[in-house]
């Protein structure tokens, strides 16, 4: 796999260590990973890097993940977005439905990884 073929994944999360963990794990999986610590950074990185997939933490200071989801989808409706949250209660929020998946955060990233893989395949990227 050459550098150019690597899929780009943008991760937005306000927790430094979580971002770091995701980056390490996803790079091991062979993705190119970009990080954003808040919504503004995420929007800028998305315009700049055109990621193949974005994962958003819902609870972030300032603009939260759900609002950010709306903004990102408005700019580019084709980018698949996975919502990551510490708990599942947002599943009932109707704004969640415009995301492509919802993953409850866990130390075990198996579910996140398989979801990313599935979405990338089904979106033909």
């Amino acid at each position: 796999m050459t550098e150019k073929k690597k899929k780009k994944i943008l991760i937005a999360d306000d927790e430094d260590n979580i971002r770091f963990l995701y980056k390490e794990e996803l790079e091991d999986e062979g993705y190119e990973v970009f990080l954003a610590a808040n919504a503004e950074e995420a929007i800028a990185k998305a315009r700049e890097e055109h990621p193949d997939l974005v994962t958003l933490d819902i609870k972030m200071p300032g603009m939260d993940g759900l609002e950010l989801l709306g903004k990102l989808k408005k700019e580019n409706n084709n980018v698949p977005v996975i919502l990551c949250s510490a708990y599942g209660s947002y599943k009932q929020d109707f704004r969640v439905w415009s995301s492509d998946a919802y993953v409850v955060k866990s130390a075990d990233l198996k579910e996140l990884k398989s979801t990313i893989k599935e979405i990338l395949i089904s979106s033909g990227k």
């Binding site: 963990l21 439905w97 866990s106």
Partner: protein
């Protein structure tokens, strides 16, 4: 006229009488002794006049065994009655020839020829008459007349004192009976016992003295026979009076308090059963009971045949013509009526006994009121206690909800980092099974593994907590109960490894589908199954039965029963099994059963745990089936709102 010696003797004798005793009977018999001692006569009798102007025989001597019992004359009737009315002495040589003479067979007066009758006067009132009789026909000398008149004058004071004394004694007795009855009635918290005490007061010979008493309670528009006390039959009445030793038996305080055994005996009597069958409308101008209740006064019927409010049927029911009905009131409200009669001794109902009855009725009214208040109090108290429990439960859940959401959220992110890096650390050391691992690497591997395992445990705890407040959101689907169990067991099989546990299922055929959240219900079933498994670490049996329940007055429900053979829940834990965070396990959050119950309750169902000590536990889940037919929509939130946002794009 009367010589000094004789008059002194009479004075001495009568003074001795006055100071010897306060009892009327003894005084009268002593007077007769004096008369017989001072005069040449064969028989002597004393009559006293009561409040009702009846001239009644009180004491006599010389008339023989059969003579003079219970003789009562009207004022002016016969020679004695004439003397009483005219306050004048009569000396008759041939008494029976006198036009004032009235022959009364019981008096056996025919054996006496002559008669001297003297009024006993006190402050110009005639309080009685003293008679002297002789068998031989003779004249009474003026001297004899003066002797008897002197004696009569001298004893008048003693007699009237004795009358006042006996009246006082009666009142004291009445008061003490009332006191005991009221004490007994009010010191018991058992209203039934209190009412029995009162009814027994009304019917005991030495107190109220009525033959029978029935208590009617006002219930809506009716008077309902509640309890009755009295003999079942004339034979029974005879037996009771013999047992009591006759009417004259001395009153004893301990008799007033009705024991539990007596109460049982009373309530089992035929008369009580008869009383309980009686019902009368509480309607104006309908019957005496309603009359007493509505007018709040004692109704005394002396002759039922002529009474407009007594029907023929009423008279037949009770078998008497004379009775009294007294209302029971408390706080201006009529609570019932007591009906009394003297069926067996046919004694007329006197004013005095009606007064006493009214006093008993006042007590009965308070006992009834007390009982009503106590019943209300007990019910309110019970309600309050259950409300308190509910409040505590609710508060616990609310606090849990708030606390858990906050804590969980703050903990989750660091936990993900710790666990995530521990995993990376471990995998860095051992990316794949590698036999060439050196000792140091193996230690580091193990350390990382411990961190990872512990993080996983914490994550499970958080998951449980975070599920807790959200169990209200149900994704309802129509499910086949059989499939549901089968799917639950499928996911469960892997846990079973290493344990010799058999699972038996018994699922009713042709069960209707049920509208539930299958994921949540499966979660419940799995939770209960794993509890069961943990109670049987080596071997055991689990039995799952699923069937439809059709109880009268309840809507049909689906019953899921899960029984195990794990020995049951220990006593100390039983109260707490639904308590969040309570657990007996080394590695458990304690949220399991409380979440299960909440899920089932959110489905409108119930979850009960039956504990069979030393045998096992049976968990019964009841899910209502009522929604299963009229709800065709596949999915909607638990509050029944349709999903209006479905399909909306943001």
């Amino acid at each position: 006229m009367l010589d000094q010696k004789l008059s002194l003797e009479i004075l001495k004798a009568t003074t001795r009488i006055a100071s010897s005793t306060p009892h009327l009977g003894q005084i009268l018999s002593q007077i007769i002794d004096v008369v017989k001692n001072k005069m040449e006569i064969d028989a002597c009798s004393i009559f006293l006049i009561d409040d009702a102007e009846k001239v009644s025989l009180q004491a006599s001597s010389g008339y023989g065994d059969a003579g003079m019992a219970n003789l009562s004359l009207n004022m002016g009737q016969g020679v004695t009655g004439w003397v009483a009315r005219h306050k004048r002495t009569l000396a008759l040589r041939e008494a029976m020839q006198d036009p004032r003479f009235v022959y009364i067979p019981e008096t056996v007066e025919e054996q006496f020829q002559s008669m001297l009758s003297v009024p006993i006067l006190r402050e110009d009132h005639c309080i009685g008459v003293v008679n002297a009789h002789t068998r031989d026909k003779r004249y009474f000398s003026p001297m004899e007349i003066v002797v008897l008149e002197t004696i009569a004058d001298q004893v008048a004071g003693s007699i009237s004192n004795a009358l006042i004394y006996s009246k006082n004694q009666m009142m004291i007795k009445e008061l003490s009976i009332l006191y005991d009855v009221s004490l007994a009635a009010q010191s018991t918290l058992n209203p039934e016992l209190g009412l029995w005490v009162i009814l027994s007061g009304i019917t005991r010979g030495e107190a109220g003295g009525f033959n029978r008493a029935i208590l009617f309670a006002v219930e809506g528009e009716e008077l309902i026979g509640t309890m009755g006390l009295g003999p079942d039959s004339p034979e029974d009445a005879q037996r009771i009076w013999t047992d009591l030793g006759g009417e004259g038996k001395e009153y004893q305080i301990p008799q007033r308090v009705v024991s539990e055994e007596e109460k049982d005996e009373y309530s089992k009597s035929n008369f009580n059963k008869f009383a309980k069958t009686l019902r009368y409308p509480l309607k104006k101008n309908d019957n005496v009971l309603a009359e007493a209740a509505l007018k709040r006064k004692i109704v005394h019927v002396e002759n039922g045949e002529d009474h407009s409010l007594i029907s023929e049927k009423f008279r037949q029911t009770f078998g008497v013509d004379s009775f009294a009905a007294v209302p029971l009131t408390a706080h201006e409200e009529v609570l019932g009526v007591i009906l009394v009669d003297n069926r067996y001794n046919a004694k007329p109902i006197t004013e005095t006994s009606l007064h006493l009855l009214a006093r008993f009725a006042a007590h009965a009214g308070w006992v009834l009121e007390n009982s009503r208040l106590i019943t209300k109090l007990v019910a309110t108290n019970r309600e309050l206690l259950s409300m308190k429990d509910q409040l505590i439960e609710n508060e616990k859940l609310t606090v849990l909800g708030q606390l858990s959401a906050e804590v969980a959220h703050e903990i989750k992110n660091p936990l993900v980092s710790i666990g995530g890096f521990a995993r990376r650390l471990r995998d860095k050391i051992l990316p794949a099974p590698n036999p060439s691992l050196n000792h140091q690497d193996e230690s580091v591997f193990n350390y990382a593994n411990i961190i990872l395992k512990e993080t996983q445990r914490l994550e499970r705890l958080l998951e449980d907590i975070l599920t807790y407040p959200k169990t209200g959101d149900l994704n309802l689907e129509t499910c086949n109960p059989g499939d549901l169990i089968a799917e639950s067991l499928d996911t469960f099989q892997s846990v079973l490894q290493g344990q010799d546990v058999t699972i038996e299922t018994c699922i009713q055929k042709d069960l209707d589908t049920v509208l539930i959240d299958p994921i949540k219900i499966k979660q419940v079933i799995n939770n209960i199954l794993s509890n069961a498994l943990e109670s049987m670490p080596h071997e055991g049996k689990i039995r799952i039965s699923v069937y439809r329940v059709d109880e009268a007055e309840e809507s049909p429900a689906l019953s899921i029963r899960i029984e195990d053979s794990g020995g049951g829940i220990p006593d100390h834990a039983l109260d707490n099994i639904f308590n969040p965070f309570f657990t007996t396990k080394k590695t458990g959050t304690g949220l399991g059963l409380s979440i299960c119950r909440k899920i089932v309750e959110n489905h409108g169902g119930t979850l009960r745990v039956e504990n069979f000590k030393n045998k096992g536990v049976e968990v019964c889940i009841l899910l209502p089936l009522k929604n299963s037919r009229d709800c065709t929509k596949k999915e909607y939130p638990s509050d029944g709102r349709p999903e209006k946002f479905a399909g909306d794009e943001i």
